[in-house]
Symmetry: C2
Subunit: 310 residues, 2 copies
């Protein structure tokens, strides 16, 4: 594939531009915010680099689309992908970032941060023995780059880590990998559930009342996509102590609307989609690495299977 | 050394007893709380197992004293140790426990837990990008079992870890080990200071104004001993932003008195000496392992050098 003209559409385009220009790439670039883009820009470009596509435009003349994020549902969900257009995505440090995000919230729980904070307010010296990560059982949904890196770190601390994937194929760092259909019987033993799954036809509202009903006092961490969770069922599961708490980094609607009841729930911890932020440096590094591999006809590790949706 | 009669003095003596009795040890045991102990018990015993010694008794007839805790300052500080009495201490899972405690508070900071909690209360969706542990520089005081295990875990995440010890001898998992006298010039680059040092003549008020003056916006974690810190200087360093926050698990006086001003300081996080709790299971496992090694004349890994004090 020959790539000459590259269109970068992003609110961060100034930072991206200054980083790309350091590399002296022999290509033509246009940098825009989405509101300034017109159809002619897409006719001019061989490559399109962005966090999303805007469905009012025709992208079928583009040869290669690179997603600056790890998730590509804004490119694929409820949308027909034009035939023959290559789609790649940013992976890079996401695995590590999400693993540290999850580990931080598991340690907050096993080390009783909230409990000691409350006791301190009361000037109350009441020892509680922290739990070790090695005594925890964790189910990770998604065994790709991100899920596997999280499994690697948690199993490194001695946790028992199980995986759930479409295929159920065994992967390193998981005690066992199951399919969605076969994993229900294991759920009652889990201490934590971590969702790293993309949004696809199969994952919409995967976390519903039927699944939550199998749990007892579990910490749920969602770093995948918000629409994989049935919000009503989540609230219910917290009331029933099927869930002990939920740490949510992703939501069906983002930003989370100001009147959403998640904001005020005492056992929901909200972060504004930051568990795997693309810093301009990382987004550019991953884009340039992909560009170099394309120019040199090398295999790409970050191609999206547009049928599977990830 | 022949050990026949073993005196266990602990508020947890019932749990210890039931755990020891599972092992069918061919020794005589007496289990007491401290208030019930009399001098005759100490004349009867070859071995004394406890968290501390009571200075109103004479321990010189005992052959072996085993500390159920890792710290032995309650045995040695401001006290003459009787000649020829072996002192051993519990090490076991302390390294892992303290490492997870420290990692939890570092992740709380780099993942902006407090900031996101405040934003949630305001229903404010304002992304902040978490920092990676690999970008952090950490100085660990004490390069023994506990300091080294903490260094192992943090350097495993890619942090730059430096050590401070009496000898300054290089150890695995530390970029560099320095002596107290030589480490001051490195302090201005640190993001976190972790103290794991025992209380000795050399470490009393080691963390004083002179040391804190070298810091800028540092997170300080004390899992060693409270009396290693000059409390006035700590409060001052927090006011000057030399310290960003202090996580304190140990205090000069424990329990921390109810009227102590640490309780209400917004940037001091207090835990009630729980970073390396001896669970009865672990204390007993470590005591029995030491007993077995003594019976079989094997080398002991947990002997305390009573002159050094650790």
């Amino acid at each position: 594939m020959e790539v000459k003209n590259i269109l970068v559409v992003s609110p961060m385009y100034k930072e991206i531009k200054s980083l790309v220009e350091k590399e002296k790439i022999n290509k033509e670039f246009r940098y825009l915010v989405e509101a300034e883009m017109v159809q002619d820009d897409l006719l001019w470009a061989d490559a399109f680099v962005s966090f999303n596509v805007n469905s009012s435009y025709d992208y079928s003349h583009i040869k290669w689309v690179h997603s600056l994020g790890a998730g590509v549902d804004k490119f694929l969900h409820n949308r027909d992908w034009p035939d023959g257009v290559l789609l790649t995505r940013t992976i890079c440090s996401f695995g590590q970032r999400i693993a540290e995000y999850c580990l931080g919230y598991i340690l907050k729980d096993v080390q009783f941060h909230d409990e000691f904070h409350e006791l301190q307010k009361q000037r109350n010296w009441s020892p509680i023995t922290p739990k070790l990560i090695s005594d925890q059982k964790v189910m990770i949904y998604g065994t790709g780059e991100i899920g596997q890196n999280t499994a690697k770190i948690l199993s490194g601390f001695g946790a028992e880590v199980y995986g759930v994937s479409l295929s159920g194929i065994e992967k390193e760092y998981f005690n066992e990998v199951m399919t969605v259909d076969s994993h229900f019987s294991q759920l009652n033993e889990m201490n934590y559930l971590i969702n790293t799954l993309p949004l696809t036809e199969q994952t919409v509202k995967l976390f519903d009342g039927e699944l939550f009903n199998k749990l007892s006092n579990v910490g749920f961490i969602n770093v995948g996509r918000g629409a994989t969770v049935d919000e009503e069922a989540l609230i219910q599961a917290l009331s029933n102590q099927q869930l002990k708490f939920a740490v949510l980094d992703v939501f069906t609607q983002e930003p989370l609307p100001e009147d959403h009841r998640f904001w005020s729930h005492p056992n929901i911890h909200i972060t504004p989609h930051i568990s795997a932020v693309t810093t301009p440096e990382e987004g550019v590094a991953c884009f340039l690495e992909t560009l170099k591999n394309i120019d040199e006809n090398k295999p790409l590790k970050n191609i999206v299977d547009v049928k599977k949706g990830y």
